[in-house]
Symmetry: C2
Amino acid sequence: MSGPARLIALDWGTTSLRAYLLDDQGDVIDVVSNPSGIMAVQDGDFARALDTAIGAWRSRHPDLPIVAAGMIGSAQGWRDIPYVDCPAALDDLVAAMKRQSLTADCPLPIVPGVALRGAFPNVMRGEETQIVGALELRPQLGADCVLVLPGTHSKWVTMRGGRIVDFTTYMTGELFGVLGRHSILGRPARDAGAGEPDATVFQGVFRVASQVAAAAFEQGVLTIRDNPSRGLSSMLFLARALVLSGQLPAAFSLDFLSGLLVGEELRCGLAELPASGGAGIALIGETALCAHYVRALGLFGIAKPPIIEGAAAAGLWRIAAAAGIGSLSPTG
Amino acid sequence: MSGPARLIALDWGTTSLRAYLLDDQGDVIDVVSNPSGIMAVQDGDFARALDTAIGAWRSRHPDLPIVAAGMIGSAQGWRDIPYVDCPAALDDLVAAMKRQSLTADCPLPIVPGVALRGAFPNVMRGEETQIVGALELRPQLGADCVLVLPGTHSKWVTMRGGRIVDFTTYMTGELFGVLGRHSILGRPARDAGAGEPDATVFQGVFRVASQVAAAAFEQGVLTIRDNPSRGLSSMLFLARALVLSGQLPAAFSLDFLSGLLVGEELRCGLAELPASGGAGIALIGETALCAHYVRALGLFGIAKPPIIEGAAAAGLWRIAAAAGIGSLSPTG
């Protein structure tokens, strides 16, 4: 049983917009998900895209505050919000939110992304909000842990003392999409009628939930795990050569490819972990996607890490409350 | 001064057709290069594509024998010629050529590709012919060496006793093309007006011959060389993050990307070499492309390996002569 609507929270990324109507406890009353990611918005008319997505909510709740996170706060988005530097915690995000002067052009407070400086610079926009939400939803993770956010650009985030201190991006999802659609590696599956990999979302990786697909995925993970020195660039070609040599069914070559890419992400990500053997790892994301990471992690000897869903909405609620947006109180 | 025309030799690949008119010494009288690779041939009408390319030669020399190598002998080509298995030498290629029964549908003898069996299967079509030509052009390479053929699918080939005994494929060129054109990594360069990477040939990697481009390329190579454990999937994202953090000019981010990909190929290829420190490596390909590999190899401590150009025509001549095609004698 939901309470009264108190906040509209937007997880607005490159390829999709997800809007949450939240009640006075931060619980989700309603969700709208559509493909109006920032790259799909016509003529930069973000106000109209937003109205299309949540106009009905705003008619019913005209005074509800709105808050957003994700690529909507990038140079290609509605307003370019400067990054907060690592180490970054909730307080830093909230302070940066409070400094934003809203304008008629963009009346929307946007959670800043987080930047890592140095020889291996890195950036995130949206994941910082999911991290805040994940720690809120699962406080037993503690202040020191490694959070893995699978996706187009998977993030492995090291938390120390409740702060984001370091992170790495793996291009797992985008490599899969681009190679499956545009390289020779996608041809056997296309010829076999297995269909195109999904154009926009990483979940397309796992389009077939069959035993053969699962076996091909695991074969890919194990190939990477057991041959760490060969390098991804040559291993990728195996997705073609194994089909030509009759060792992999053409229709499942993309499952093998996704196994290679997820395997490479895990191999490198786990190698960076302290000698804790993977204690303190959690996955943040949709269960269907994270389940494949759990399966692959198992092949690396990491048993059943927790999966945290709903982190974006929880993080947006937490940050909005801490920033005093719409007079929400931090305790909900 | 050329002798009389004796052979038409075709290097017919996925994206281009290169035809050589050779004299009675195997020297090149004329070359035709056009984009009628097998993927561009309409309705499988290879005979017409061939006539368009070399009709003028055939009018002048109606009785000249023709021989071909490359993807034209694949399932997607004119006729599917079975692979010769490793270990493979000139004699094996010649024997397979002699077994071909020519038909009106495909009156053309085609050099078979070479297949590697086992847990890491691999295939080549066309490179085996370049290897025969390279050994002919540069006998001082000896029977034991490592031949590197940069390209869309770069090959590193181990020769023992004059036979192809092992080889690895790196997707260097295709990864560059696909990521530059279709992934987020190509966007900074596109926005900076640096133009699209070439759609079909790897040479597009090195479109800018400036000092800044060379520095960005070297930065990519060194980044891979000095951080072998981080893995390509995360290093690729650096091509974006370095631009966002102001550490790499957007217009040269593709040069950095090509440095990463060539660096990864060299890192893995060199790690597989015996402890000879790279003695006995030679590059086969166009000088403009190979020069960048020489530059990158220098950063790995390998000084000036030989570059062998013209290997395809030389190999086609050698194989045709050994097979007795058109009564050529093996000594030319």
